[in-house]
């Protein structure tokens, strides 16, 4: 489904990713772990189409299509979703209004009829339960005045409504206490259906206790220095990142 091939990325002439190879198949959950400044978030942003990154080599295909040639909204239409590490507060934009516009943009792309307000509300009320969010959230401005936990749950809620084919979670666990983490993980797990794929970017393996990955990749210095099964995350937890840095050296 997702194929990252020898991807090199710079930010303002500074190399960040130095040749990433990653294959994510349908229904798979891949964890990308790594110390701070290893390039994890850069990889997530480049996949979602954020500006400010220069791809100097390699490429990314999604179902065989050149993902990097697409605008962020085109990527979303094809089923790519990024759960932000820092969801953006947008004062004055009603959360439900925003989400309805997003959902209908995607439906329009797929040739489906747009949902009217009533149909939309019936859908989202169902999805809110998934992440235990209150309906009052719909009337609030996007992420404005949300607690850290609410923001992250709102990301998972949006994911549930938009039903992406590939969800990239960028440090969705950061800043969450254990109860909030469990809520987020539960939401993610209920979206695992054997077809939807996940790339879970995280610094700690804590989230992976709840969202169990098929593969774990360790990113360090802009390269994947080690890949393995779930047990790799446990090793990292036990030995720290210095262990992989030394191993890679």
């Amino acid at each position: 489904m997702l194929a990252v091939h020898d991807l090199e990325v710079r930010i303002a002439d500074k190399p960040i990713l130095k040749g990433i190879d990653l294959e994510v198949g349908s229904g798979e959950v891949h964890a990308i772990m790594g110390p701070n400044a290893s390039g994890k978030s850069t990889l997530a942003h480049v996949l979602a189409g954020r500006e400010g990154y220069e791809v100097t080599a390699g490429g990314v295909t999604f179902d065989g299509e050149d993902l990097l040639a697409l605008s962020p909204e085109e990527r979303a239409h094809r089923g790519v979703f990024l759960a932000f590490q820092y969801p953006v507060a947008i004062p004055g934009v009603n959360n439900a209004y925003f989400l309805k516009a997003a959902l209908n943009a995607g439906r329009k792309y797929r040739g489906l009829a747009e949902l009217d307000a009533i149909e939309f509300l019936n859908l989202v009320k169902e999805k809110l339960k998934l992440v235990h969010l209150d309906e009052a959230l719909l009337k609030r401005a996007v992420n404005e005045g949300f607690s850290g936990g609410e923001k992250k749950r709102n990301e998972v809620f949006q994911m549930a409504v938009l039903e992406p084919r590939l969800a990239i979670l960028d440090e969705t666990d950061s800043g969450l206490d254990i109860d909030a983490l469990k809520l987020v993980a539960e939401g993610v797990n209920r979206l695992r259906d054997g077809h939807r794929s996940f790339v879970v970017v995280t610094h700690y393996q804590r989230l992976l206790n709840y969202v169990v990955p098929d593969r774990v990749h360790v990113l360090s210095g802009g390269r994947i220095v080690r890949s393995g099964g779930r047990e790799l995350a446990l090793d990292l937890d036990a030995h720290g990142y210095d262990w992989v840095k030394v191993a890679a050296a």
Binding site: G49, E51, S71, R75, P91, V93, L99, A101, V142, L162
Partner: protein, 464 residues
Amino acid sequence: MNVRLISPLEPSDPFLAELARLESRLPAAEPPWLRAIRRRALASFGERGFPGRRDEDWKYTDVSTIAERPLRVALPGVGPLGTGAAGIEAGRIDTNNRDYRYAGLECLELVFVNGHCVSTSAEMNYWALPEGTTVAPLAAMLSDAPPVLRSSIERMADALPDAFAALNAAFTADGAYLAVPDGVALDVPVHLVFLSAPWDEPVAAFPRVCIHLGEGARASVIESYVGMDAQENLTCAVTEIIAAEGARCDHYRVQREHPRSYHVGRLSVSQARDSEVTSFSIVCGARLSRQDIAVRLEGEGASVALHGLYVGDGRRHVDHHTRIDHLLPHTRSEEHYKGVLDGRSRGVFNGTVVVHPDAQKSEAHQSNHNLLLSGEAEIDTKPELQIHADDVICSHGASVGRLDPDALFYLCSRGIEAPAARAILTQAFIDEVLGRLPIAALRLGLTRDLGSGETSAELFSALI
């Protein structure tokens, strides 16, 4: 009275000829005092001429296109439309046009075509207006003007702030007169609709609105200036609000003239003790728009709130000049203006607040925030606080910015097309002003018309 000696105009002066042409169409009964004022005002205009770029107040606004073309005053009951009323009957003016009617707005309505009243809402004939209340076309009041109206017109003519005010004083023949006696609340808003209509040549309209509220009286007035068709008309309007002790006036001015037309408007407000005035100035029309607002807080405890929104695109020019004078203690003012400028449009905001030495314990707050949607749009914003008292609370802030790229990326990453994402963020910026409009019909109508054309967030939210 200190009246400056002004030399009369040459008889050949084209403005004087224009005045003669206008007067030939006015009722013969027009009183001599009014004719004298017209001549004096015209002479005053002749002395000062149109403002130039060297006038500090007009530094960023070039009115040479207005000055250089012949001035043709729109006359009552003439032109290709026939009388305005006949034009309406013949269906040439669509009075159901939603451009100026707000769905669900219950109001008393007066409709003007090029400055002259052509219809008043049928309800006004049998509407139980509170006793002593007058809501009438100004033309109907002038021949036998109540003393307060006459003195108001005379006082304004004695202190003409600029050339356009002088032209209005010389050429105004109609408009609206609203007088609410002491202790009376007019529950229904008065909607004054000024349509600028096609003529065989560009014409100039000079409406005058006088709003006089007695002690403790209340009224809401909406002035809508609407362009009917491609036309380089000029509208030069003057509104005066006099709020006696404890009176409350909500004033809404919506300027959506045709993009080729010119609009110069002035709102002059005098407030006595404990009076409250709220003004909204929404500007999204005209090739060149200039709005002056001058507020005098003349009584202790008087308070004013000025809200504004200007939207520019193409090569349009939108100028707001406001001035608030705090003359006595415990007066309060707040002013919040926002602008959205696209294309090669240019905005000007100049907000002067003067706290006079006697105005201790006063409070003045001002903000002006601007959103530039293109690299070629410009804004000149200048807050000007002159504080001559030491025990006051004043604040001001101005900003010029662009759409937040992080917010844009967030919306697009969810599948919203970039133009729609920009429209959503722009709408949110605008909604902050429109959201304060207390009249729901006005708020919803303007949100729909000024927004992206999609269902507004508020309309949507109402469904939830």
